[in-house]
Amino acid sequence: MDPNFFINFFTIEGFEWLIQLLVTVLIGFYNIFAFIVVRQVKTLNDSLSTDAGFLLSIIAYINMFASVVLLIVAIVSL
């Protein structure tokens, strides 16, 4: 490990890096939320089947896909 690793936290660059890390963690939590939404839409569609069920499933999957892409971009740009 770089001996200046902790010292770098107290610089502007270090602070920016911390903010970026925090945002990445938040996006990670959002991914969990998006996954739960997909599961829940499936369960709810099983409980009550409507003609809008397919559309709701697609929206849930798009939301999850977008959150995964965003997480990857956030990790790469760290």
């Binding site: 829940q40 009550l48 965003l70 740009s77």
Partner: protein, 179 residues
């Protein structure tokens, strides 16, 4: 499909539900009045305009990061919109030719389904209270039953007087047929 997605009272809709018996038909599906969504809808609308504040706060950060935060913010906004919509959409009260089903979906991790045969319904009353319900013609409908679940409450239903009358007629019809 638009009707299914937006109406709070659906007559003989193209729907099926888990546990539907052979010969059972959905007569009505009720939801909370669409105006009850105004609170979260306004919140989401405000959230759509928030990125200008985010851009100002993070103005010293790299542009790549600002774009990422903006994208994340809009994703959260869409996620909240979708989750709240699902909450309204799947919170339904189903009246079939045999029973009443109350599907409660409070949030993503809580779901409760209860039902009672129509012949066990004893009393149906409605109540409209407060400024919001009076202004937007909403009300709560209380259904007393002799089933395991003693009372069903249909909250913030649009046009409650009409719904109460409708339910009373359906129950009376079922009881007079003896089925």
């Amino acid at each position: 499909m638009l009707k299914t997605l937006t109406r709070s009272i659906l007559q003989k809709p193209e729907m099926t539900f888990y546990g539907e018996d052979r010969g059972e038909k959905i007569l009505y599906v009720f939801r909370r009045g669409i105006i009850t969504n105004i609170g979260w809808f306004l919140t989401v609308t405000i959230m759509l305009f928030a990125p200008s504040a985010i851009n100002y706060t993070f103005s010293e950060m790299p542009i790549k990061f600002i774009i990422l935060v903006n994208a994340f913010w809009y994703l959260i906004t869409c996620g909240i919109f979708f989750e709240r919509f699902l909450n309204w959409f799947f919170n339904v009260y189903i009246i079939t030719n045999k029973r009443i089903i109350d599907m409660d979906f409070d949030h993503l991790l809580h779901k409760n389904i209860s039902e009672a045969p129509l012949r066990n319904v004893e009393d149906i009353t409605y109540e409209a209270k407060g400024m919001f319900q009076t202004l937007f013609h909403l009300g709560d409908i209380y259904i007393q039953t002799a089933a395991e679940k003693r009372e069903f409450t249909f909250e913030n239903v649009a046009n409650p007087r009409y719904v109460q009358d409708l339910l009373s007629d359906i129950v009376a019809g079922v009881k007079s047929n003896g089925s």
